[in-house]
């Protein structure tokens, strides 16, 4: 049995390394992105093999739902920018050289293939990129292989250390939940989780500070397939999100996985857009994005004044407090991920 599992592990690791190598060595961006999505899938399976279902859940929700869609839309935006007729000369007086001409000689950039797919990607010419420059090839290879060797040698010398698992098991009864990871995330090391919510919020603020997002008119589709799929998937996604949030206290799940699933559902709706997206008042959107972290800190302050230190939950109140915090965090994360996907701040903010 564990011989079969061992071969499974070897094949999985070989697949991971192969996909990662091909992804970083490809000269066509779209192929790199698809390989990266596959890499995320294999990674989730690797986390399953490492007995970390929570992380596999997060990797699945974030890898399949958020990062994949974000990369694909970024490629579309880059393609739109590159192919836009350069009328606005104030930014770039000399029009950039034609991409296809300069990259025609790049090896592997123009594979032969059936006409339809090739023609379908005429617009993708902007997405091909030159292979890595020749100079400095060997030095980087030697450095990175040396680093990998050193890391593996160091890891080989480390014998098994039980880590903090016994201490966590010891304090589980006081933590208010009976799932190890949620107890660590929201009770023992809740300061890390609070700062991590701040990090998600900060990424949203940074993306908003760069500029406004494109216009988002309704885009009715000719056929019934997409609206039908959205109508089916949306309620199931919301129910799954709430289920994951609820299950977090006693089984794999929790605020981030639920937030990512709800965020992915929001991204699906903002992509399909059967009818005009509700454009919320910018002030409410800003409060909504910050609510998760603010609520977390506010409840934590109570510990600062009453209890021994900041972020202390009294053990009998721990479970309801943790649930409230997780709900707030889920909503804020979902909102921020959709805002990050849409790209800029809403034009209403600057009027």
């Amino acid at each position: 049995m564990n011989a079969a599992l061992l071969t499974f592990d070897f094949v999985l690791l070989a697949g991971l390394l192969g996909v990662a190598w091909r992804c970083l060595a490809s000269t066509d961006l779209f192929r790199a992105v698809v390989l990266f999505i596959t890499f995320g899938l294999l990674l989730a399976i690797a986390w399953v093999r490492l007995e970390a279902p929570d992380i596999a859940l997060a990797e699945a929700a974030i890898g399949a739902g958020i990062t994949g869609a974000l990369l694909l839309v970024t490629l579309e935006r880059l393609k739109h920018i590159m192919n836009r007729p350069r009328t606005d000369t104030d930014h770039d007086p000399a029009p950039p050289p034609d991409p296809v001409a300069s990259d025609a000689d790049a090896p592997g950039a123009a594979p032969t293939g059936d006409a339809a797919s090739r023609a379908a990607d005429a617009g993708n010419a902007a997405l091909s990129c030159a292979p890595a420059p020749a100079r400095g090839r060997w030095i980087t290879l030697v450095v990175t292989v040396g680093l990998a060797g050193l890391l593996m040698a160091t890891l080989a010398t480390q014998e098994h250390d039980p880590g903090l698992q016994p201490t966590v098991a010891e304090h589980m009864d006081v933590s208010g939940v009976d799932h190890g990871i949620t107890a660590v995330l929201l009770n023992f090391r809740s300061w890390d989780t609070l700062l991590e919510l701040a990090m998600v919020l900060l990424a949203g603020l940074g993306a908003w500070s760069l500029g406004r997002h494109d216009a988002l008119p309704a885009r009715p589709t000719p056929g019934p397939v997409l609206p039908g799929a959205v109508r089916l998937l949306l309620p199931v996604a919301i129910v799954t999100g709430v289920y994951l949030l609820w299950a977090g206290s006693h089984a794999p799940g929790g605020a981030f996985q639920a937030g990512a699933v709800l965020g992915a559902a929001g991204i699906l709706v903002s992509l399909a857009r059967p009818h005009e997206l509700p454009d919320p008042d910018p002030r409410l959107l800003r409060i909504g994005v910050t609510a998760g972290a603010l609520l977390f800190l506010a409840i934590g302050l109570w510990g600062l004044f009453a209890g021994p230190a900041l972020l202390t939950w009294p053990s009998e109140l721990a479970y309801p407090l943790i649930l409230i915090i997780e709900t707030g965090a889920t909503l804020s994360i979902a909102l921020t991920l959709v805002a990050l996907f849409i790209g800029g701040r809403s034009p209403r903010e600057d009027t």
């Binding site: 039980p162 880590g163 023992f188 603020l205 940074g206 500070s209 934590g300």
Partner: protein
């Protein structure tokens, strides 16, 4: 027993952390009032900080361990995240407070469009708060997250001006930061793999001389050296610092780079000190000297005021890198690094903000066409000059005090080592002197047009804050020369690994 009982200090530490996170969160939730939240909240937070310093100074002699350790969430070291407040942390909090306050009052006049304020102030408070939390934290993984928060807010602020150079610089800065943070995290992972503990102080007690600690040291210190723009990895600094809004450049050159060196010092004092070998000392010395020479030469060549200041940061960071070889031979001299961070932080923030004022007034900052504006604006030129003098290290300024202590430590270190190391230490001492000479050259190049005769044209309108703040910082940098004793007193109470 001490007069102020430690639990007021524990409350103060917790309150400092809560305010450093609360202010930015409030500003992010209500960006329309973010400017008012910043201008009211920052002074209050700094008053609280001064109170905490007072409490700490008279409670510290009585406390057994020279640091206040707060287990957040009520969970003690190995399980929970601990905040670690000692003399070194308080000194860096003070520096962060001074530069942030001056930057905020400066930014009041510098950014006057409503849209700009809504974007600038939340990110600005996140940068200040992130650096505070970085200094307070005593846990390896928590340091990774605070590093990410500080770096991301700094990158977003650099990209705020929206012109080509700013966004290019911001992108390069972001990639370097992500690389640095990931190597820091891998180092922390290796340490956790070996010792099963993440708290820095506990790691210091457990750390031996094995391959894991050596590899973790290489990864963590390498990542931080990248973020601190030490010589071979400094490429990102000039573009990012030169094209950012002036208060942000001041904060970046003044505090962010110094915070990275603070973290290197903290890890060095607690965990990695026994790894210091003479070979490492020579390597760091060579890097520092190369940074000094190369940065100064670039500063001499740069056509724009802000770029001169940015390259001078690369050069001055060479000084701090030079301090480490002397530290390896003479460990007790570690306060030199903090003195340099303070002197350089205040002086460089003054110079960059003054350069921002000149640029705002003249419409550009190309040095060969700044004569009229410099001649007309006495206060700004005085700020530039005074900050420059502290960078040069002329007597009675903060820069002089730091260089003097470095030279003194160098001579002490040279007294009791092998002859080869004495030769190398002598070389570092010579490099420090050479660095001062080069600094004099590029500072005078910046200020010289003001003394030549010629027409005077004050250029565009500049708000009062933009004139007085650089001056205040420059005076602070100079006055720091006289306040050396109190800073040393504060730094005495710092946890240093046995």
């Amino acid at each position: 027993m001490s007069t102020a009982s430690p639990d007021t200090l524990i409350f103060a530490t917790g309150a400092l952390a809560a305010v450093s996170l609360g202010l930015p969160l409030l500003a992010s939730a209500w960006p329309w009032q973010a400017r008012r939240i910043g201008l009211l909240g920052l002074p209050l937070a700094i008053l609280g900080l001064l109170a905490a310093v007072g409490l700490f100074l008279d409670a510290a002699p009585g406390m057994d361990a020279p640091a206040v350790r707060v287990g957040l969430g009520g969970w003690e070291a190995p399980l929970g995240v601990t905040l670690h407040l000692d003399g070194l942390a308080l000194a860096m909090l003070l520096l962060n407070a001074l530069v942030a306050l001056a930057g905020s009052l400066y930014a009041r006049g510098y950014i006057h469009t409503a849209a700009g304020e809504r974007q600038f102030w939340p990110l600005w408070l996140w940068l200040w708060g992130g650096l505070n939390l970085l200094v307070l934290s005593g846990d390896a993984f928590n340091l990774f997250i605070t590093l990410e928060i500080a770096s991301l807010s700094a990158v977003a602020l650099v990209a705020l001006t929206g012109d080509t150079d700013a966004v290019t610089g911001a992108m390069r800065y972001l990639l370097i930061n992500l690389l640095g943070s990931l190597s820091f995290l891998l180092g922390a992972a290796l340490l956790y793999g070996e010792f099963g503990v993440l708290d820095l102080q506990l790691l210091g007690e457990l750390a031996d001389d094995g391959p894991t600690v050596r590899m973790a040291a290489a990864l963590m210190l390498g990542g931080l050296l990248m973020k601190a723009a030490v010589f071979p990895l400094h490429v990102w600094l000039a573009t990012a610092h030169a094209s950012a809004p002036a208060p942000v450049s001041g904060m970046l050159s003044g505090m962010v780079v110094a915070a990275m060196f603070y973290l290197i010092l903290r890890l060095w004092l607690l965990i990695f000190a026994p790894l210091g070998t003479p070979a490492l000392a020579v390597l760091l010395g060579l890097l520092g000297s190369a940074a000094l020479v190369w940065g100064s030469l670039q500063a001499l060549r740069a056509p724009r005021l802000k770029i001169v200041a940015a390259y001078s940061t690369v050069a001055q960071m060479g000084y701090i890198t030079l301090a480490f070889p002397i530290l390896i031979l003479h460990p007790a001299a570690w306060p030199v690094v903090v003195f340099f961070a303070f002197a350089h932080g205040l002086a460089k923030a003054a110079v960059l903000m003054a350069a921002g004022t000149v640029q705002k007034a003249a419409g550009h900052d190309r040095m060969n066409a700044l004569g009229p504006v410099l001649r007309a604006r006495g206060r700004t030129v005085f700020a530039l000059g005074l900050g420059g003098i502290s960078l040069m290290g002329l007597p009675l300024t903060g820069g002089f005090l730091a260089k003097y202590l470095l030279l003194e430590a160098g001579l002490l270190a040279a007294a009791d080592t092998t002859t080869i190391m004495q030769v190398w230490t002598a070389l570092w001492v010579v490099m420090v002197a050479l660095g001062s000479l080069l600094a004099t050259a590029y500072i005078l190049r910046m200020v010289a047009p003001a003394f030549a005769a010629g027409e005077r044209n004050p250029g565009g309108h500049v708000s009062a804050g933009m004139e007085w703040m650089p001056l205040a910082l420059a005076v602070g940098a100079a006055a720091m020369g006289l306040a050396g004793a109190s800073l040393t007193g504060l730094l005495e109470h710092t946890t240093v690994a046995a």
